[in-house]
Structure formats: C-alpha cells, structure tokens
Amino acid sequence: MPNPKRRHSKMRKNSRRAHHFLTAPTLGTCPQCHHKKLPHNVCQECGYYKGREVIDTKA
C-alpha cells in the first residue's frame, strides 16, 4: 500500500484548513412578529407566510 513519504508541517495543515469554516445563514425579519426568519420559509415563531397563518405554532 502507498504511504506518505514525508510528514506535513503545521503550516501546510493549517493552510489546507483555512477554507474550513461555517457561514451564518441569511436571515430576514418576519413582517408579522419581527422575529428573525429564513427567507422563503414559514416564520417559525408565528407560523405566518405572506400575510396569512399557515401552520399552528401552538400545536
């Protein structure tokens, strides 16, 4: 089986991992309850989407 010939330095390792990061989701504000909500999704706080209630959040 092929094996690594040389050890990778910390710099090489860290440089490779420089692109490993999380990005925050884009959030909008619900016009109904002014909580943060995902765009094009039902508001999880009040259950409204496009001005009408579509899911019962109290259930």
Binding site: N41, V42, R52, E53, V54, I55, D56, K58, A59
Partner: protein, 144 residues
Amino acid sequence: MRHLNSGSKLGRQPAHRRATLRALVTNVIIYESICTTIARARAARPLVEHMITLGKRDTLHSRRQAAAFLMTPLATKKLFADIAPRFSQRNGGYTRIIKAGYRFGDGAHEAILELVGYKLKKKETKKKEKVEEAEPAETAKAKA
C-alpha cells in the same frame, strides 16, 4: 447528460415509490394540507393536480382512474363531490408548496403541500368544545 434529472426517486424502489406517492396524494385530498419533506411534496404535486383534473372531467372512466390511484373510496368521493367543483374556474395550479423550515429530528427540509384556498383551522375551536362538553354534563346532572 441529463440522465435521471426528471423527477425524484425518493430513495425507493418503483413499487415503494408508487405506494408512497399514492399515500401522499390520498392524504392531500383528505386533509387538503399536509406537512412533508420538500422532495416528497414536489414529487406528489403533479399527481395531485392530475387527480383534480380527473375530478373535473367527471366521467365514469375518470372516476375509475382516480379510484384506482387513490387509496380509499372516501377520498375519491371527496375529490369528485367537494374538491373538483371548487376548482371549476381555475385552469391548473390547484396546489401550493410552502417551505416550512427544517425538521428537528433529522434536519430534513420540510414543506406544506396544500390545495389553493385552504384555510388553517385554528385551535381556538377548543373553547367551543369545552362549552359542548359542559352542556352534556349538565344534562346528565339534570337527568340524575
């Protein structure tokens, strides 16, 4: 190559997939609004619309075609008697998919698949139920 780009297989074999889609369509007809995953909603949507088209055609043959696909006779009855007449003025676009965030358990992206014109029945009806519950109790007391 655009191989396998049309429609979703939903990770199922053909018979299983057909059964899943029939169940979804039947439930949309019965409940008028269901919450499922986006992939399932998108796969079931054209089938629901086709069922409503069959309902609007309203012939013996179309009724048999619908009954062969839907899982319960009650759903077929509701489709032809209740749902199809509602959409007599609308040419297609009978359903709506609304994205509903991510499921807690497995992180699946959920969606609501509903018939256009569906209005949410709120839980406020609980008050009425309480009143109804109270009344029989009183009559029971009166009888006693």
